[in-house]
Symmetry: C2
Amino acid sequence: MDERIPELELDNQLCFALYDASRSVVRAYGPLLDELGLTYPQYITMLVLWETEGPLSMGDLGSRLHLDSGTLTPLVKRLVALGVVGRTRDPADERRVLVTLTESGAAMRQSATNIPGSIAGKFGLDSDSACALREDLVRLAGTIEEPST
Amino acid sequence: MDERIPELELDNQLCFALYDASRSVVRAYGPLLDELGLTYPQYITMLVLWETEGPLSMGDLGSRLHLDSGTLTPLVKRLVALGVVGRTRDPADERRVLVTLTESGAAMRQSATNIPGSIAGKFGLDSDSACALREDLVRLAGTIEEPST
DNA sequence: TACGATTATATCGTGCACAATTCTATTGTC
DNA sequence: GACAATAGAATTGTGCACGATATAATCGTA
């Protein structure tokens, strides 16, 4: 093209570095999650259920993962089909749908305990750097979320 | 659940911070790209074309963006439908498809020059921090890509 | 110069993301 | 207690991602 416009060059975009790194990391989970029969979004959904006492509503899951019902509804239905969670209407409020781990879903947690270590090995990062990077990313996402005046 | 397993908690996952931040940033581009009629993946494709002298093959575009033909083929066809690029077979090698900017596509570059600045304003980061973060992410993605012995 | 191997793209199928809309249950408020 | 407003999910439609497969052009080489 005519002249260079450095701000528009791909290699100068923080957004592309993020987008590319995110896809790379999700791909890295692929082989490990295949053994569990989960996709990456399904895996993080299971993480939330594993760390929570008792059932969670679709809305609770959605706000934890920042996913809306258009994404979560079919995703959770696939988890039901896998037999790892159950879906029931909340008797106290029939609008709400409660998601609960099945025995099989709870048991899967043990098979997943090796995953974080395997992944950490693929990152060329020591634990402190990984933690610092994670904090930078959380801060960035938090800043962007602002309703922007 | 029974006991805590900190390595499996969502808030300790670098992968989730990345995944969440990436989606947040792409969402932040939404309103700006709407004015151009582009999606985020279409936008980064245009970035590559804008910074390149002459046409690019599908393969060139794919290796630059780390996207395969299953993603790029329909994406580029939508850019053709928008009238911003053209697709032609390479006469020197009929297997290759060359993507070229149309006049309208080249002109769109001017309308895009304000985007990086607008986005930078949404990040709570000074230019140096953003650059450092970008470099960390590029390094991370590069490390993961290794064919892993 | 046939012809098997390789290369470049396209196609197909599954599963996200997310905006927009719809549907039903609940919650004021009069 | 009727009823508008709201809240929680589901549905619909579009556009990625990506693995797997298919197709066609080119290349190597016997």
